[in-house]
Amino acid sequence: MNTIIHIIRKEFIQIFRNKTMLPIIFLLPIVQLLVLVFAATFEMKNINMVVVDQDLSSESRQLIGKFKGSPFFQIQLNTFSQKEAEEFLKADKADLILNIPSGFERNLLKENSANVQLLINAINGTTAGLTNGYASSVIADYNRDVIIENINLNPPSSQSNVNIEYSFWYNPEMNYKIYMLPGILGILITLIGMFLTALNLVREKEMGTIEQINVSPIKKYQFIVGKLFPFLCIALFELAFGLTIGKVIFNIPMLGSLPLLFLFASVYLLVALGIGLFVSTLSSTQQQVMFVTFFIMIVFIMMSGIFTPTESMPVWAQRANVMNPAAYFMRVIRMILLKGSGFMDIWKSFASLLIYAIIILGLATWKYRKIA
């Protein structure tokens, strides 16, 4: 036990002595958390649009008025030239063109229906879908007005109507930040913990100082524990710090039990750090460790469901996610914080990660050789 404490103390001294690394470990993640949380939204606010009104009638003006009144659309240009409108789209100055053909009002009054054309820049499929949705609802709005006018003229026939009520639970204001903060915080502590651990061991190898440890009576498991513990502490400290910031600045809800959250986070970090350690026992240079860990990290992050829903992934990928510790963590940290899930709701993830931790740490200890 004493040996472990000495190793841990040595590691801490080394970490805090390195003045260039300290701001990178402690300051950089916090700054990123503060800035990046705001970026992760699909909410559409300003859809820039161009109107090509070739009818110039009172009906067309009414329709354009509806778009003007909508908070989602900003009319950037009114023009008669289709070409000019398309140039705007090409130059990324607008994402939507509303084409009102001549004869629009005449058709509407004579034949009861008229066409307009929406041209949408669809390079980003998701936002194009939303743009289409918003534009269609503006037009539906206009149609409804016309229908109401009409109903006043001729009394209604038997109409069926389904009223849809909706409510957003756990987040009635639809604040995306409270969802993104735990996720981004999760990435940051994983990055810091995994890389620090992975680089630390291999650095000793590269510098040759590992030889001194190898010839000492330190046991393998003592060495591994001594290498893990300091970085686990740092990562947990940053988690606590990040959550405090989340609470103070973003007012994220903390419905569930914080001890449970930290217990779960510790097990998760054991897995993440264990992977880092395992990779470093297999590598001989910092560069190798760096690229292998980077590769693992980015695959884990992208598949963890932090930015995109995991259910949309193909089944085989969802199965593969069993191997992805970040996927468990992203899900559970959000469940505990935002929905107040208890141990009974998350015990399966907890058990899986625990087994994972034992396996990966076992592998790392087994792979660590006390010979050069």
């Binding site: 950089l28 009861n112 980003n124 680089l199 190798q288």
Partner: protein
């Protein structure tokens, strides 16, 4: 020149000897493109929902079937009481609960009105919003089909055309995004680490006292990585083109030229990082921590920049990847020429020059 050539050769030896790193370097773009192409998508598919049907009649069954056959949703559970809603949300699988009031179709035929309630787990606000919109559209569609018969309503029909991407494929977003991410990170990481390594090992001094000029040393370090990154760029373009059908409408030469420019920019950023880092660890952390997340989040790769708060939109201007992504999309998807991307190209050139000037100023040829 001969000296320089043998120096470059030495660098290549260094790289090719480390097979594992080399594998990762070439495997990374392929893996990422495949992950984005086949796995990750921001569309909604198979979201799990629960249904609490108090009336269980013909119409509610029909609506339920419509919803479940849409492809967006799969049924996780049929609930029987309101109390279960909270429980099921806490387990974290179900994202939406649909509640039909008792006597749904009776109400509908008697009064012409019936109520359905949709509760979404909005802890993920982005997804909750999409799910609600889909569900509403399906129910409204169904309601419209109930009201058949002579339609006296005047209406405008909107014909929508999705320009540049008729099928709303995700590939048009992720190929440019991945390319920018990979080229930036890999180039910056490789150069910064390799120069910092020489410093840490003390071999930098050996080179500094050799007849090689500092500029030659830097160029020699960078040349092999330039070649590697360019191969990566081409790999991504080929995969995007042949596997995912990403078109290249504009000039291929312009596209390759812009890629080279971006790689140069990333390499000079790497050099700058290495001049300020005393050892490999610092170089890695700066190029990883400071570049990865900001590049993913602030470049318009996953989240559109125009939705962000104004201060973030301003910050995004200093992300080189942002400009490169605009260039890639313009050239590949819209087929525009240099006329439309000269501004972005100039910005990238400017960034490269700034990074190089700063590195030259910081580069020390003497021991401390």
């Amino acid at each position: 020149m001969k000296l320089f050539r043998s120096f470059v050769k030495k660098e290549f030896y260094h790289i090719f000897r480390d097979v594992r790193t080399l594998l990762i370097l070439f495997g990374l773009p392929i893996a990422l493109i495949l992950i984005f192409g086949y796995v990750v998508t921001s569309e909604i598919k198979n979201a799990k929902i629960a249904i609490l049907d108090h009336s269980k009649d013909e119409i509610t069954t029909e609506i339920t079937n419509k919803i479940l056959s849409s492809g967006y949703f799969i049924l996780d559970e049929n609930l029987s009481t309101e109390k279960q809603i909270e429980e099921i949300f806490k387990k974290g699988e179900v994202r939406e609960v649909i509640i039909f009031e008792p006597g749904f179709s009776a109400n509908l035929s008697k009064t012409g009105q019936a109520n359905v309630q949709i509760i979404t787990d909005a802890s993920d606000a982005n997804t909750a919003n999409l799910l609600l919109n889909y569900t509403r559209a399906i129910i409204q569609d169904y309601t419209l089909s109930l009201n058949k018969g002579p339609n006296l309503n005047i209406k405008i029909i909107a014909q929508t055309r999705m320009l540049y991407n008729e099928e709303l494929k995700g590939v048009y977003m992720f190929v440019p995004g991945t390319m920018a991410l990979i080229l930036l990170l890999v180039s910056a990481m490789m150069t910064s680490i390799s120069i910092a390594r020489e410093k840490e090992m003390g071999t930098m001094e050996v080179m500094l006292v050799s007849p090689l000029k500092p500029l030659q040393i830097i160029l020699g370090k960078v040349t092999p990585y330039f070649v590697l990154s360019f191969i990566n760029a081409i790999t991504i373009l080929i995969l995007g083109y042949f596997v995912f059908g990403m078109p290249i409408k504009g000039s291929l030469i312009l596209l390759l030229g812009e890629s080279m420019l971006f790689i140069l920019m990333a390499l000079s950023l790497g050099i700058l990082i290495s001049t300020v880092s005393p050892n490999q660890q610092v170089a890695m952390f700066i190029s990883m921590m400071a570049l990865m997340l900001p590049t993913i989040l602030l470049s318009g790769f996953i989240f559109p920049i125009e939705n962000m708060p104004i201060p973030l939109q301003i910050i995004s201007h200093i992300m080189p990847a942002r400009w490169f992504i605009v260039i890639l999309k313009n050239v590949m998807l819209k087929g525009t020429g240099l006329l439309f991307v000269w501004k972005e190209s100039l910005i990238l050139i400017g960034m490269t020059l700034i990074f190089i000037t700063l590195s030259v100023k910081k580069f020390k040829v003497r021991l401390e």
